[in-house]
Symmetry: C2
Subunit: 693 residues, 2 copies
Amino acid sequence: MDIKKLLSPDRIAVIGASEKDGFGGDTCRNVITYMKEGSYYFVNPKRDMVLGEKCYHSIDEIPENIDLVVLCTPKSTVEGLIKKASIKGAKAAVVYASGYSEVGTKEGKEAEESLINLCKELDIALMGPNCAGYVNFIKGVSSFAFISEERDRKGAVGIVSQSGQLILSMMDNPKMKFSHAISSGNSIVCKMEDYLDFLVDDEDTKVIAMFLEGVKDTEHFIKGLKKAAIKGKPVVVLKTGRSEKGQKIAASHTGSLSGADKVYDALFKKFGVIRVDDLEELMSTAMAMAVLKKMPQIPNFAAMSLSGGETGICADLGELHGVKFMDFSCETLEKLNELLPSYATPNNPLDMTATLSYDVEKFAMALETVMSDPSVGLVAVGYTLLQEIADPAIHYMAKSMEIVCAKPESKPLVMIPFAENTRNDEYREKLAKIGVPVLPTSNYAFKILRNIADFVSYDPSKHDLKVEIPNEIEGSGGVLTESESKEIVGKYGIPFPKCVVAKSEEEAVKAIEEVGYPIVAKIDSPDILHKSDIGCVKLNLNSETEVRSAYNHIIRNAKEHCPDARISGVQINNMVDSGIEMIIGVNNDPQFGPCILCGLGGVFVEVFKDTAIRIAPVSYDEAYEMVTSLKGIKLLEGYRGNKPADIGAYVEAIVNVSRLACEHKDTMKELDINPIFLYEKGICAVDALFVKK
Amino acid sequence: MDIKKLLSPDRIAVIGASEKDGFGGDTCRNVITYMKEGSYYFVNPKRDMVLGEKCYHSIDEIPENIDLVVLCTPKSTVEGLIKKASIKGAKAAVVYASGYSEVGTKEGKEAEESLINLCKELDIALMGPNCAGYVNFIKGVSSFAFISEERDRKGAVGIVSQSGQLILSMMDNPKMKFSHAISSGNSIVCKMEDYLDFLVDDEDTKVIAMFLEGVKDTEHFIKGLKKAAIKGKPVVVLKTGRSEKGQKIAASHTGSLSGADKVYDALFKKFGVIRVDDLEELMSTAMAMAVLKKMPQIPNFAAMSLSGGETGICADLGELHGVKFMDFSCETLEKLNELLPSYATPNNPLDMTATLSYDVEKFAMALETVMSDPSVGLVAVGYTLLQEIADPAIHYMAKSMEIVCAKPESKPLVMIPFAENTRNDEYREKLAKIGVPVLPTSNYAFKILRNIADFVSYDPSKHDLKVEIPNEIEGSGGVLTESESKEIVGKYGIPFPKCVVAKSEEEAVKAIEEVGYPIVAKIDSPDILHKSDIGCVKLNLNSETEVRSAYNHIIRNAKEHCPDARISGVQINNMVDSGIEMIIGVNNDPQFGPCILCGLGGVFVEVFKDTAIRIAPVSYDEAYEMVTSLKGIKLLEGYRGNKPADIGAYVEAIVNVSRLACEHKDTMKELDINPIFLYEKGICAVDALFVKK
């Protein structure tokens, strides 16, 4: 299958060509508007002419071979037409028709299977079904089922979406400029993963934007993300399914497998993918990154507005979205004091006062002053660019920006409006040409600044860019005993207290010398999970008599409460001092493999959900970032005069558990190491539970 | 001072009338465009005509008395002109000039003082200085310093802003319709509080929108908020100063006292004020509430979009912003199943499919079906209304909405676009007329839906609409001893363990019988705060010997570590069982009086900041809402098989402490009751610290 025949064909044929509203008519109108003569053919058995151009009655009649066939016809005709097109040399097809797996019926699914098989047989790269087609803006190929205003949209954002409606909305948006726009539909042959791969390699695509409901070929998807991460090509993703309701909708919409949403968050963190909340944020983040001629060197920014009110909004939104405004250096403040009217107080964010916006030279100087501050990676100018220009300030400001941006030492610059509007075309274009994107209204704008800061902060070399996808092995389930679990975990360098599994009272007594007082005795059984609830844990034993008595009590309680439980004995453990109670957990996601979780134990994980999740394997840097991202990190750093805990040892443990998880991906379902005590020096895990697949 | 002379004058005089760009020229242009002939006069000593109208050389020459004088002239001329205008009958003035307290100089402050005194003397209601004036859209009075596109802006939102630039931005926004737009500037005579009061009483103002940097006359401000709360008139506030940087900027901008931001949050909760994050949210929340013909009866909503992608976005944004989509009833689902194409799966939010949007009758039926669901208070239709209409769906949808909205049983309806744009004027107006606001892009839209839900959920009768502003008494500071603090708190029904303050070893022994074993002994001194750190607390004493020894140790440790501390004795307390550790705190805000805080103790308050703050006095309902808003509420409700704690007793305690705080507002700075143990039945406080003003 050659995806280039699909996305970059030399000749296409539109079947079901028509003049009516609808797929056939709209596709033809798009083709005529955006494609060169001779690169397309129209086919309709009932028509000789369509929109003033020749229309063939059948694919066979087309005088030369074609690369791509675009089917605007109903489902029932699809397979026959693809066969005919294949004879005519076609290696690719776009299918708009719906009625396949997305309807959820047996017939739909069977039709989809049959279409997949046909494409395999004939080596056809198929887009859809149930899609809206695509436009290749670079080569000038349009196979798109909806009409939008005629306009030059050629640019550098490559977009691929599982929703055709959202692609149309993006086309309708005056600011958007694309390299490619692809509506993938049911993605049965060419998948989201294939399009991603294509766009990562495509030199004309500077930024990739995706609307994603779910992923089918995980390995391929990850290959694409990894390539993009290493290339430093931004991938911006709107993935629905964050909420339970959203997940249900995504699953029913294009029939995608829509995995646990937190796993996607973890996956995106690993590969530096920017995740956004809605369509506007998707479009504007992608466009901003496409328009900027360079990315900021550091993720701290400056803002300059024309009034105190706007400056206050910038300060508050900065804090809300985690966009950092560092204080200006004394040198910067001095220079600004000279430039600003006497009543102004320079600050970052800066109220530069309206007077400066009417003075090309002074505003340029203020811009350069702020840019030259070493703490500033990017400057945001707060100004509401409207559609109808009433205020002349923009004339002066744009000129200043042009002067400043032309200099090689200039830093990235963006404009932030405070009210929704269609931005004045002339100025938007002018600013885009000098590399200044006009962001959407402030709350979005600050989210986008944060996205840019995150992108700049991401360093692929600090991440382990592997994912260990488990093989589909259906195990018999069940859990290991605590001692078995601890043995496996212990092999990966996680320390546990000394422990002997005693199979008799005498063995228990013999174990005392080996493990040492004080002693904790616990039942060892794969069938008893809540040991302490049924009296199967005895703490702080300090004599032979106590150990004997504990052994017998534990065995008796186990037999009484769980008569059918398999019992491998009683663990005789050395009882260690308690430290700060932490946990490490693993959940083996069927699609993306082991996910590793860390956090404080007890109520902190259960009630406050203060945990960090990443996809294994994690590097030391990733694990460190997980731990420091916890709210409870303060408790580890030396809270209320306590000495700091050994964070390094805990981070090591996370890395080691992640390695364990990868090596057991085909046999492990879950792993729970809880608690792990953190001390001033070192750590000690006290319990472990290995759940088998 | 009569604010009506300022905001609703019959005749105004513009001094400094001009044809040039700037205050004078722009004010005259506005006056000519928006005011009736004969209701205004222009004055400029150097001109006979301005913009084709007669211009007087001096105020004296005006042939009749005036109500309001608008000064477009520099600061130096202001007082003289006001005196002259006063002779001509003026009882109000608008002063644009800057250079007063906002510049931070002594001269500026003195000029402001002098201007205030003059206004008092002449009984002048003054707007400004350093303001942009106002427009009364109902009566047709314009005293506004900036030019914006000519357009009918008469509507129902009354806006008052401390920033002139933001008022202009709102005027520039095509969707905005006002009753009044007021730029208050430095607010030295007429204050934000006065304008608020005016707008609450004003029958033409349906919704009040404010941009606020700080409040000067607290009592007056609260009076206005209370009146609005009782009337049910929405007050939407953008108050900067959420962040530390924002607070600094707000303080320097108009010289307002910008108090602790959390106190404002608490104040707004009490009075049901809607707090927003930026200008767009301010405008759109206010406009949505003005356009809606009725408010939803319940705060749960439904959404209907044309595609699965958009529906997924709605589901996720709903969860993100706390907008509740309840599941539809079986009846609703059945009806929708009949209306929708076979491949659609009805849900809330609903993917109604694009087909419905082209069918007036079916879409109307779907709308009515969704509206009639008992769980639905408001319906949001997800559709990107653009400026240029390309897609005919809006023609059909608008017609359906008109049909549905005309029925008396119809519920509130809004439209949610997914991309930023200027909305098509014709349709925006058409929809507004039938009571359907077009919200801004989705992320804003959902924030606004949440604002509406909060407004609908607010019930003034459940709040104690008082604020106890402390008198400005400068006390000598210091703290009470623990026993003194506990005595005061105990009088308000908060139980403490039995306690006797022993002044000698013998008294300590005598106290044993009264308080009972086990005993906790603690130093009682106003000068020793961290008692346990220096060995001044002894726990779990169970014999006379232990008590004697504890007494002596405590006294010795206190003298050793704090030789200068005043010691009133050693408290002999009964040691109570520990329960769930909670706190109640009070911070007496100089501007808004005692603020009361509740939360779980220890790391939960210090590291996780899981607290709720309200302004005293609080009603039982308010206190209950505080407690249930805690994340840690799960720990109180019976966590991990524990019995639920006595939440009611804790809520009572909060109410009682709030009463205590109000009654001690002039003498107390802080109060810290920490910990309070919550049991299955009842509570017991163990320590209290009363800090004096």
